[in-house]
Amino acid sequence: MNILLAILVLGSIAAVFGALLGFASVRFKVDADPIVDQLDALLPQTQCGQCGYPGCKPYAQAVADGEAINKCAPGGEDTIKKIADLMGVEVQPIDDSHVSGDAPKSNRPKVAFVIEEDCIGCTKCIQACPVDAIIGAAKQMHTIIIDECTGCDLCVAPCPVDCIEMRELPDTIHNWQWDLTSIPVKQLD
């Protein structure tokens, strides 16, 4: 009799909490997966596709679904660290198979540059650009909008005359960073 009572009591408690949880899961349902947006915000948005996904958001989705976190070459170690923090996983070294071209010699950002006298106006690079940063029309010379270029590299390969190259942005006083080799100024008696 006692056992029956215990089963009844525990059963009813389980039913009550089950109903409560069920209600909560419906009432407080989160539509989108917020982790994807958070991951997307961490990615550099170059849309380069070096990770094997067609853009940063798809890779963010993939990471949320358990893809390796070390495939973002433009983001580098910093991005991997941030993703690791967010996902609660170990920091991994960057996956070299997803780094296209040679390892960058410097950290300076690069942008595409059209050698304009060589351009034949084939529009292939325009179709490849993920952020519409190339202006031009068929049989007209193309050029890059430097401010919009993400440096993703995707326009270099399709060019039939190899007139696109990646160039480092020049150092200006606007993007210059202080370095520790400067002489510190101090006043002593």
Binding site: D40, L43, P44, Q45, T46, Q47, G55, C56, K57, P109, P130, V131, D132, A133, D147, E148, T150, D171, T172, I173, N175, W176, Q177, W178, D179, L180, S182, I183, P184, V185, K186, Q187, L188, D189
Partner: protein, 783 residues
């Protein structure tokens, strides 16, 4: 509130700000020497950008001679401040050169070779300011290229543009940094001009009260200003205690008004505007004397100099020229450090060619004894001992040691939490640090990196938006394409259904057609026989031959007509899924009909060739036989009539096919209705041609000898579109040799034209049929 502040100020009581230090002033080096006017340097290097904002558009080119005060750049934007030629001379170059920036990076500079004449451009000296409107005054200030001369270089004309409710106008004469005496000397020597400048700002901003803040260590300047402002009730000269960094904007506001400018806000938000002493002087020069900002007072000081002093330096003067003028002791010593700005906030310059700009107030050349740290290659920095002195002296009430750790760890979010952005780079913390940690340096690096990161984030955000927009655009284009295809398919289907009532008589037509097909098959066999026979034909056989040919032509025309009717009607009589099969069938039928046609054309060509041969044999005979020209004439005239009839018929056919062409254009995108129009027009044209042919042949019977010429030409024109040349006309020409040429030629010409027209019309009709076929096939694929 303003009243209580004024009351307190009149009693000589001020507020205090947190922290601050008392470094050795070292102002005695220069404070007792008048401002020296220098000889003109040989060359000036004028950077295009000398302020916060953007550089203007160049107005001059290399080789151009400019006058003193002439504008070199044009301001197109409020944040753009123009620059002017500090003296007359020739522009020798416009190129990148090292500028006054801690990075030692280059920027675009105008190189001016001084001609030594110092010729002014035409100046518009204003004696009565009352004549000028506020707007005109502000324009004068903007055109004069005045930017804040205290250090930051914010465009002054923005700062003095009227804003409501300005409570305090504070004139910053604190000059708290050691060594610098430029403003001090300016106040001593030009107090009246400064007060005039203050009056102009007063007029523009109409503040409740004007406070001139001067540190107590400048007694002569205080006296001069007190004398100059004695008559003006509104202006109060406030003597504030000497402490570094009193001259900081927020610090001076707090000292004079007791108000603390909170984090992230500017004094203007609290109704306070601050102007530097030198800026007031420049405003007066610009508005009253039409003198743009082309020179400034620079303190050239330091114990490495024999003659430290204040000088009037033209903007763009390279610092090596200034140092020469003040006789540097160890000019050959390569390790001599030259600091631009004061010892607390300045930076060492990388080149002696760095020019003086609007914000440079001091060139400091310390001796090794005076400032040993400036000569050390390696920092003497040791670990932080957590003494907390730095936070005691921080005027912004930050926690420098915490900031330092976070900066070293590149923990930017923590730096944000610690309010790094409120740091004014004053260097008080580094000054008191017993571990000799260059704290400000770490902050500057962190600030630059945070700024860079913010720019990257902005760029990433922009890239994301553009990427999403592009994706959306591509998707939209894809959907639009699909929709277009679907619409076109639907339209074609609708058109087919619409055509049904037109073809209600289909069944009877089919029955009639079947009969005609049989007839056609028979005639086809016959015509083939004829073709083979005609090769051996004799002129006597031509009559029989002609009869059969007429029959063949009629049968052919009918067969064609029927075939087309079939092609049109079959798909339209049914719909639904059965459509596919029937369409396929009709398509194949049409294909068959075109094949059929080709066969016929081939046969006709063969026939025509045979006739030509026989004609050429016959023609000489005729010529010989004829004694009189009259029979020939009648023959030729009959011939002509027949040709004209044929030409008219062909012209009609052409017209019809042309009218069919217009709806035909729509067909590609819209529906298949014109297809039917085309085919029906085509049919009509062919019927007309056939009738004309028949008539022609009837005539030919009467003139048996000549008929073949017509026959040949007609057959050629109706069936063989490609073989239009003068060959079929040859026999005719031979026949008509005796006839007057004037009569003959036009006929031949019209005949030819008509033939060409007919051929073109036919070719077009065929093309349309083919297109219709392909469209139908596509349609089927689409469905």
């Amino acid at each position: 509130m303003v009243e209580s502040v004024i009351e307190r100020i009149t009693r000589g009581h001020f507020w205090d700000f947190h922290g601050g230090i008392h470094p050795p002033e070292q102002k005695f080096l220069t404070s007792n020497k008048p401002i020296k006017q220098l000889a003109l340097p040989k060359q000036l290097i004028i950077p295009l950008q000398q302020h916060i904002g953007r550089e203007g558009d160049l107005l001059v080119s290399i080789g151009e001679h400019v006058l003193k005060g002439q504008a070199l750049t044009l301001s197109t934007n409020p944040m753009v401040v123009p620059i002017h030629a500090p003296t007359s001379g020739t522009i020798s170059a416009i190129k990148m050169s090292v500028i006054a920036h801690p990075s030692g990076l280059s920027q675009l500079c105008v190189f001016l070779d001084v001609d030594g004449e110092d010729t002014w451009r035409k100046r518009d000296v204003c004696t009565d300011l009352a004549q000028l409107s506020n707007h005109e005054i502000i324009k004068k200030i903007a055109d004069a290229g005045i930017a804040g001369m205290g250090g930051a270089g914010f465009p002054t004309h923005i700062k003095v543009s009227s804003k409501p409710d300005i409570k305090f106008l504070i004139i910053n004469g604190a000059e708290c940094e050691p060594y610098i005496t430029a403003d001090d000397l300016l106040m001593m020597e030009q107090s009246n001009a400064i007060v005039d400048g203050i009056k102009i700002i007063d007029r523009l901003l109409t503040p409740a009260v004007i406070l001139i803040g001067i540190e107590a260590n400048k007694p002569k300047a205080i006296k001069a200003l007190q004398q100059a402002t004695a008559a003006i009730e509104k202006i109060k000269v406030c003597i504030v205690p000497t402490k570094y960094p009193t001259g900081g904007e927020k610090q001076l506001v707090q000292i004079l008004t007791g108000q603390e400018v909170t984090s992230g806000r500017l004094p203007i938000h609290d109704g306070i505007v601050m102007q530097n002493i030198a800026t007031c002087f420049a405003i007066n020069e610009a508005v009253r004397h039409d003198t743009p900002l082309i020179r400034r007072v620079v303190t050239v000081t330091g114990q490495a100099l024999n003659k430290p002093q204040n000088v009037w330096a033209l903007l763009g003067t390279p610092i090596n020229f200034l140092l020469e003028q003040c006789s540097v002791e160890n000019i050959k010593n390569e390790k001599q450090t030259v600091i631009m700005g004061g010892p607390m906030m300045g930076f060492s310059v990388s080149s002696e060619l760095v020019p003086i700009v609007k914000t440079s107030n001091c060139i400091l050349v310390p001796s090794k004894k005076e400032m040993p740290s400036a000569f050390e290659k390696e920092s003497k920095e040791v670990e932080c001992i957590r003494c907390g002195q730095c936070s005691d002296v921080c005027p912004s009430q930050l926690l420098p040691q915490e900031l330092q750790w976070s900066a070293k760890a590149k923990d930017y979010s923590q730096l944000e939490k610690l309010n790094l952005r409120d740091c004014i780079d004053c260097g008080a913390c580094a000054y008191v640090c017993p571990s000799q940690i260059p704290l400000v340096h770490y902050y500057r690096i962190a600030k630059a990196e945070i700024r860079e990161q913010q720019q990257l984030d902005l760029k990433a955000e922009k890239a994301k938006i553009r990427f999403e927009a592009r994706k959306l655009r591509l998707e939209k284009e894809k959907v639009a394409r699909q929709e277009k295809h679907q619409k076109a398919a639907a339209a074609r289907k609708a058109a087919m259904n619409k055509a049904t009532p037109e073809a209600t008589g289909a069944k009877s037509a089919v029955a009639a057609a079947l009969a005609r097909v049989k007839a056609k098959k028979a005639s086809k066999g016959q015509s083939q026989v004829n073709t083979s026979d005609s090769q051996n034909d004799l002129p006597t056989d031509t009559a029989v031959d002609q009869k059969s040919q007429v029959a063949t032509a009629i049968a052919r025309a009918k067969a064609k007509k029927k075939l087309k009717e079939e092609a049109v009607q079959k798909p339209s009589t049914s719909d639904g899924i059965v459509d596919n099969a029937i369409e396929e069938k009709s398509a194949s039928t049409q294909q068959a009909s075109t094949d059929d046609k080709k066969e016929k054309i081939a046969a006709a060509i063969a026939k025509a060739k045979a006739k030509k041969l026989s004609k050429s044999a016959e023609a000489p005979d005729l010529e010989k036989d004829s004694d009189d020209t009259s029979p020939k004439k009648t023959v030729s005239s009959d011939d002509k009539k027949a040709k004209i009839a044929a030409a008219i018929a062909k012209a009609k056919a052409k017209k019809l096919s042309k009218s069919a062409e217009v709806p035909g254009l729509e067909k590609d995108s819209e529906d298949s209705l014109p297809e039917q129009t085309v085919s029906s027009d085509d049919k009509k044209a062919k019927i007309a041609a056939a009738i004309a042919k028949a008539k022609n042949k009837a005539l030919a019977k009467a003139n048996e000898g000549k008929v073949e010429v017509n026959e040949t030409s007609l057959l050629t024109s109706t069936n063989n579109a490609t073989e239009i040349d003068s060959k079929p006309l040859q026999p005719e020409k031979m026949v008509q040799n005796n006839i007057a040429e004037s009569e003959n030629k036009p006929v031949a010409a019209t005949d030819k034209k008509a033939k060409i027209a007919a051929a073109i019309a036919k070719a077009k009709a065929k093309k349309k049929l083919k297109e219709a076929n392909t469209v139908e096939e596509n349609d089927r694929d689409g469905v």
